[in-house]
Amino acid sequence: MATQAQSAVSIQQEMVRRRAPFVMLGVMILSSTLLLRVISFQFPQDARVSREFATQRDANAGRIETFESARGIIYDRNGYILADNRRRFRIGVSPNLVADPEQTANDLAAILGRDPVEIFNILRSDALYVPLGTIDPDVWQQIDALDLGRAIQEERLFERFYPQAPLASQVIGFVYGQGEDSLGSNGVEGEYQNRLAGVIADQEVSNLPFGVPEDGSILQVGDDLVLTIDRDIQFLIEQELQRAVVETGAEGGTIIVMDPRTGDVLGMTSYPTYDNNNFADADPDLLNNPAVSDTYEPGSVFKVLTVAAALDLGVITADWVYNDTAVLTVPGGVEIENWDRRAHGLVDTQGVLVQSLNVGAATISNLMGRDNFYLMLSRFNIGTITNIDIQGEEQGQVRIPGDEFWSESDLATNAFGQGIAVTPLQMLTAINAIANEGVIMQPRIVHQIIDGDDIETTRIVALSRPISAITAQLVTDMMVATVRDGFDEAAQLPGYSVAGKTGTAEIPDPGIGYRDDAWIMSFAGFLPADNPQVSILIIIDSPANLENQRWASQVAAPVFRRLAERLVILMEIPNDEIRLALEEQGGMVADTP
């Protein structure tokens, strides 16, 4: 029996011995397979696996934070900052993470200057997150020092700040909204929104201590802009315009200063204006830039273009003479009268400008004919936007033959700047063609765009040549005579040759034709006349006290003179005697204190 039992055990042992390797092999294969599967997760081939792991990881190992990079800085042409950014913090609290609501409420209320009960109620609420507002960095430092951990969450923001405000507010524009909602509007801020705006992006931030910390430094900041505006000139024209409007009791006004050789806008302002640091409190009507977005009937300044066009076409010459009988009746029965309602007898081309005769201008446009006249206006870019890089430019209003409301009388009235609406910038750009030997330059407000180390300089572009250089010289001489011998002598600047022309224009009033109690007074000119370095347009809208301020020569011309007197110093333009002597010897000037 014992032998049989031993034999049976022996058989079973033998079976175990034989089967054990297979079992072990099976266990090893299973283990290896599982191990390989685990290892395979390190190198996922299936996108679904990657996505699932990413979801799991995001849920546990990281959080999403919004990073905002700074908006580009705006400089004037000399590097002075016109628009910058200030850091601010948008904070909020997670009530369920606050350990001691009472103490925290007292601390936060003291720092934020708010009611402790209000804060306490917030901290006792069931809300997951309650925003507490946007605060300055020094306030955030105090809150951060409370060491409230993740109960307080902060988001860094950039807030637009204009250190020179209200300087050039209407040119620069403003930025509304904060963080991801910020958007440049009006002026350069609006026009260059895509270049100025920094990148705002959500980034995953690791919660793990060995995760590489993320920050917004990899985001691209906005491009910086260098404007053609000269801060000192801008300040000067704003001062002078405000003074002029206040002194004359006018409703408002506009001044533009340009370099006619390049099209650079050196200064551009309208009054009243606003402070772009507090644009939300401003009258919405003031947020636009009237220099490019408002139109006006230019009046007699426009005669310069009429005369230039007729001279260039050869319709008249400098020696051309007509007999001024005080009234010209044009087709349609409309009677054109001179400003003084008097007859001036035989008048030559220059006399039309010097004496600012409506009858003369209308006579010239009639001689030109409708096709030639409006063709020349289009060559001067009248009725076309200048494409200056400022948001909100209007194109003006020019009725041409074939339009529903055009009439034969328009040909006559348009010749002296009535019945036609232009923007101030259009007007000065056209005058610049005369200053610049007949070539119209593309107006520009941005000189350079700076993207890190890349500096992109905007090109100086000649748009067209509406008149020849000879015609431009002829008209310039006539404009010089207008200031020297005409009614615009208030614009004279001793020692300097000034070319210019005034305009006293009626203001259209829908329904009744034109107002009889208000006029727009303007002056457009440039100097030195033989080598223009600066052109200026001054518009004073509806001055009060019309007894002494009935004409632009009384209102706008003196402003031009005051402005020009300061500009020649700022721009280091010596008087004609010195300048011509310098040109003769080809040397430079040194100014003494």
């Binding site: 039992a5 900052i81 200030r86 850091r87 801060r231 007197e565 300061r566 080809g586």
Partner: protein
């Protein structure tokens, strides 16, 4: 009966570790411990560096913020109205065009290139140093020659 053979099998199968196996196991444990320690060290080191990085980022952000504030403050303080007020306090006043005197400087030309020697021209006159092409053997020979010259100066009179 069945219980007997299992007991016997288990008794027989009691593992009797041998010295080599023990050594291998110990080595494995030691290596695992070393790898673990190395991993922990690496992670701790990385966490420490990242913490340092965070602090530096915070410091950088703060410095950037201060720079921004200073830049804006300087811009506001140097605005034209502020400069005018300060200038008046210092006794300055705006000059009129009649008060500006321009002087003609005879024979002074604005184009510096015509009157001032070109900087690049000056530089081009300087001799460029030769390229360095000395071999080790040359250097060694020079040293020997130098020592020889020194010795001959001392002893050779």
């Amino acid at each position: 009966m069945a219980g007997n053979w299992v007991e016997h099998a288990l008794r027989r199968s009691v593992w009797k570790p041998e010295r080599q196996v023990l050594a291998l196991a110990t080595l494995g444990v030691v290596i695992a411990l070393l790898l673990g320690a190395l991993y922990l060290f690496q992670v701790a080191n990385e966490a420490s560096i990242n913490n340092e990085l965070r602090e530096m980022q915070t410091e950088r952000d703060e410095l950037e913020r201060l720079n921004q504030e200073l830049r804006s403050e300087i811009a506001a303080l140097t605005s034209v109205p502020n400069l005018q007020v300060r200038a008046r306090e210092l006794g300055f006043q705006l000059a009129g065009s009649g008060q500006i005197e321009y002087l003609l400087v005879a024979d002074y030309y604005p184009d510096r290139a015509d009157t001032v020697a070109s900087i690049t021209a000056d530089l081009s006159n300087e001799d460029d140093p030769d390229d360095y092409d000395e071999t080790f053997v040359d250097w060694f020979g020079n040293q020997i020659d130098s020592i020889g010259d020194t010795l001959s100066d001392i002893f050779g009179g």
